[in-house]
Symmetry: C2
Subunit: 220 residues, 2 copies
DNA sequence: ACCTGAACACCGTTCAAGT
DNA sequence: ACCTGAACACCGTTCAAGT
């Protein structure tokens, strides 16, 4: 049995745990070096042994969020490549919206950690299995991520969390709010309020990602 | 001739001017109520006569950025609806990336100002002219914005400014950086470095938006 | 190596007071 | 109505010092 030793209280992992704890309890806006330190019962500057600075802390958090994305849907052999891409995209959106601070984190800086590379590889494989060239696969993998991340950004700004029940609540709220918008001069917008109210729903996401996927997989 | 009167030094407009001045000179990260006040030669709390709080200042700035987006491409009768949508999307991306703080601003909160409504209406018109139902037009208008804004977010995080020359510089840098990435275990990614290096270019953007548009306009 | 105390140069916002 | 002075409760980061 290894000697107990002086249990190192802190590590990059415990710092990240504490950081996500702050986000869960107080929201992403409240995330600060000082608050994380407080949670750990340590002085603020103590964290600088484990993270270079605030940006480095965020990078670590982004990588954790990316790791939470399940690549399983892309490997499922029971479905067509198009179905797999759609299922994966839906799951990725849900994971990012549901993860504490997920949306804010992906917006906080570049996404180029190790798990992003695995995600990209799995997407490439799926596009290639769909019969696309390697170049088109690479372009397609990026385009799909652009659509998912754009959606997550816009939905998060609207208060979405990926939870279907909350989605319905927000849609109802938005429908009511649209009643008070001045639509003189925008006749078409006036007639589409029911659709607009449901922009930030899984159904709208599926509609768009499916058309993007269809456009990318079309023979050519 | 109206009497000169005591020229009111401040207004919401001058505050916004000063705010964009700060962003131009010192970057979006340096934007603060106190710095804007300093530029105006006034004490920090003086701004609260013209903006409710920091979030309100950002809202005003977002609306200015949206106003900078040219809806002209959507009205051009010389092109097909698909071409008009593509041209508009390219121009919108360029404007947002080129505008001081544009990307950071669209990420800072919901986009629902008056000019967003006009933009939406012009998009709806174009989709309808392409023969789509009003419902599909509404879904399509949102999907297109999702793709543009997602692109802007990712490109801005990578340092893009919409300038084609800078685009090339960044692509070259990224190509070099990819040499040092460990690609063991990701064989497909290893073979697509040339495409990946050019993810944040107008060419890649056109590739993706065209396929999204084609998927949306396809008969069905 | 890891942590603390103290400090520096910042924030957004509020309140009371002046004109 | 519009602006100031002063204050409050925060930030990230650095430096010197202790163990």
């Amino acid at each position: 049995m290894a000697p107990p030793g002086p249990a190192r209280r802190l590590s990059e992992s415990t710092v990240l745990d504490a950081a996500f704890g702050v986000v869960v309890d107080q929201g992403f806006a409240a995330l600060s070096i000082r608050r994380v330190a407080a949670v750990l019962g340590v002085s603020p500057n103590a964290l600088y042994t484990y993270v270079a600075d605030r940006a480095d802390l965020l990078r670590g958090m982004v990588e954790r969020v990316m790791t939470a994305i399940d690549l399983g849907p892309l490997a499922s052999t029971a479905h067509t490549p198009a179905e797999r891409l759609e299922q994966f995209a839906v799951a990725m959106r849900r994971t990012l919206l549901g993860h504490p601070g997920g949306a804010a984190l992906i917006m906080s800086g570049p996404i180029d950690g190790p798990h992003s590379l695995l995600l990209n590889e799995a997407l490439l494989r799926t596009f290639v299995e769909a019969g696309k060239s390697l170049d088109d696969a690479a372009r397609g993998a990026y385009a799909l991520q652009v659509y998912v991340l754009g959606t997550v950004m816009l939905e998060a700004a609207d208060g979405g969390t990926g939870d279907p029940e909350r989605e319905e609540t927000l849609a109802t709220e938005r429908r009511a709010a649209l009643e008070h918008v001045d639509v003189s001069g925008v006749p078409l917008s006036a007639q589409t309020a029911d659709i607009v109210a449901r922009y930030n729903t899984t159904a709208q996401f599926r509609w768009g990602i499916r058309r993007l996927i269809d456009g990318m997989l079309a023979a050519g």
